[in-house]
């Protein structure tokens, strides 16, 4: 890993307040992922992602960053105001930049990263095996498509 990347990981971690974590575990309590994935574990929980970012050499290469829905439930309960959402979002962005976005889904129209494939898998699980095109569009493109369809 180049120094430049290391510096950027460091920056993401500082900005999201990872170094303030007191390991109380309150973030896991409100995390909606627990209700989404049958395989929910410490690995993919906000605390696990945070810990791996702190310890691991290449946090953006890890698959566990591709489960989060980027809500803000963990930050709302965190006594230290650590934002796991910003950490995950930053790491995902970095992963896309270095070409390791194997678990990211990109909008079929504009090409932006908009949903991790694990979240899509959950959606498909809930909705049944559906072939709707709109599911593969990011919300702004989806609205644009709807406008074009309607007016």
């Amino acid at each position: 890993m180049s120094e430049e990347l290391e510096r950027r990981v460091e920056q993401i971690m500082t900005e999201s307040g990872v170094f303030r974590c007191v390991e109380c575990g309150k973030c896991v309590v409100g995390c909606p992922m627990a209700k989404m994935y049958a395989s929910f574990s410490f690995e993919i929980s906000p605390r696990g992602v945070l810990k791996k970012a702190l310890l691991g050499p290449d946090p953006m290469k890890d698959e566990s960053i591709w489960f989060c829905t980027e809500c803000n439930a963990c930050t709302e309960t965190c006594p230290e105001g650590v934002s796991c959402r910003d950490l995950t979002a930053g790491l995902r962005k970095l992963a896309v930049e270095v070409g390791m976005a194997g678990q990211g889904l990109f909008c079929q129209h504009c090409g932006k990263l908009f949903l991790p494939s694990h979240v899509m898998k959950y959606l498909e699980e809930r909705l049944g095996k559906v072939q709707w095109q709109f599911l593969h569009l990011c919300p702004p493109c989806r609205r644009e498509r709807y406008v074009l369809l309607n007016s």
């Binding site: 409100g30 829905t69 090409g111 709109f134 569009l137 919300p139 644009e144």
Partner: protein, 433 residues
């Protein structure tokens, strides 16, 4: 899991069917002033920052399009299915409510909505959704150009009365009063001949009786002008199917049986068969003819050619008008005529609420309103060869989107111009920098 095969009748018993007034938007009147956004944020949060609003005006300047995005309160809300914290529910009136206390702003509802209607505040990342302001939407009151309207959904439900009346009178006349049948009927100087029977007669006897040409053309010309009105409004067997069909269970057809082309094969086979055998082969088993040939109640139950009627009635189990959809050669010939006909039934994209309503797809007896298209957010084009012009879609559409138009009349395009979506192949795609 979401059950896509669920029908409205099931929904009535298990869930709620919404009957609340709807918020209707007319893009032709909207000026894009965004007053709706401001009053929405004002009434819910006491600020005029439009990012907080649960309604969004989208102006696509390049395409010259304008539209409002807001929650349509679907009959089958996808957001409700995917919400991991169960913050979304349907209340007794059928409104889809978002409990902001339980919501964790994960945005999965946005990811599941065909329209992307739950909106995220770009600053606080909070998810907002229209709650119709407890029956008095602030946006409607403030809209300066009346592009937003709010009121009870109205559908021209009176259409059912003339239809049932015409069907009953036609049945009464054709089956009981008039001696002769629709196959070949004469009333004084007026002659009416079934065009399919006529075709079979020509090839069987290899003679054309000039007098019958005109009488065979009557129904065909009627079809060219008005579509398959015979099937929807006049056919005595269709009337029986409509009557008894109400008591049959509906669970959808297996995919293998959904070949609408079969009826054209039946038509071709009966004509070729007549030529080979030397007499009309389909007419003796034709359910319409059989019903017509039974003079009075006694013959209706004990008539000779009744063998096919139980079959056609049995086909009615599962889906409405299965005989008419897939097998009836008379309908097939009328379908060919209606294809070149002057009328069409359209579902206007302006007014149609698509995935949130789907009433037309529920009531269409021949099932030509594509539910999957509606779920995608597209108003489907209807095939006039299949449409029996019963006008049930017009009768039930709460927003006046389903309507009868002339063939040449322009309607909103049914496709998306300038918006291509490539079919999904893999799980991910490289970003186009």
């Amino acid at each position: 899991m979401l059950n896509l095969n669920k029908r409205s009748s099931d929904r009535n018993s298990s869930g709620v069917k919404s009957n609340h007034p709807a918020l209707v938007f007319d893009p032709r009147l909207c000026t894009g002033c965004r007053t709706c956004e401001m009053v929405c944020a004002q009434s819910h949060f006491g600020t005029v920052s439009s990012g907080k609003a649960a309604i969004r005006s989208l102006c696509l300047e390049e395409q010259g399009k304008i539209f409002s995005i807001y929650c349509q309160h679907c009959q089958e809300p996808l957001c409700l299915e995917v919400c991991p914290v169960k913050a979304i529910s349907r209340n007794a009136e059928g409104l889809v409510c978002l409990d902001s206390k339980a919501c964790v702003d994960c945005g999965l509802c946005i990811a599941a909505c065909p329209e992307g209607a739950p909106l995220r505040d770009p600053e606080t990342h909070q998810v907002q959704k229209c709650d119709l302001c407890k029956g008095e939407p602030a946006c409607v009151a403030a809209c300066p150009s009346q592009a937003l309207r709010y009121g009870p959904a109205k559908s021209p439900s009176w259409i059912r009365f003339p239809r049932w009346a015409v069907q009953a009178v036609a049945f009464f006349l054709l089956v009981i009063v008039l001696v002769g049948t629709v196959c070949s009927l004469s009333l004084g100087d007026f002659n009416l001949t079934c065009p399919v029977g006529f075709l079979q007669e020509i090839v069987a006897s290899q003679t054309i009786i000039l007098a019958t040409i005109a009488s065979a053309l009557i129904l065909l010309v009627l079809t060219v002008f008005f579509g398959r009105v015979f099937c929807g409004w006049l056919c005595p067997f269709g009337f029986i199917l409509d009557l008894v069909g109400r008591f049959f269970p509906r669970f959808g057809n297996p995919k293998i049986l959904r070949a609408r082309q079969t009826k054209y094969s039946v038509l071709a086979a009966s004509i070729v068969g007549s030529a080979a055998v030397g007499h009309q082969v389909f007419c003796p088993v034709c359910p319409i003819g059989t019903v017509c040939r039974s003079y009075g109640v006694k013959d209706f139950f004990f008539g000779s050619g009744l063998a096919v009627i139980p079959v056609a009635l049995a086909l009615e189990i599962g889906e409405k008008r299965n005989w008419c959809r897939y097998l009836c050669p008379v309908g097939a010939l009328f379908g060919l005529m209606a294809k070149v006909g002057l009328m069409k039934v359209v579902i206007g994209a302006h007014q149609c609420k698509k995935f949130s309503c789907m009433e037309c797809a529920e009531v269409c007896p021949v099932g030509i309103v594509d539910k999957e298209m509606l779920r995608e957010g597209v108003s489907p084009a209807l095939s006039m060869a299949e449409c029996i012009m019963c006008l049930r879609c017009v009768e039930h559409c709460p927003y006046g989107a389903a309507k009868v138009r002339l063939k040449g009349q322009a309607v909103r395009p049914h496709g998306v111009e300038g918006f291509s979506v490539t079919p999904v192949t893999g799980t991910s795609r490289e970003p186009s920098s």
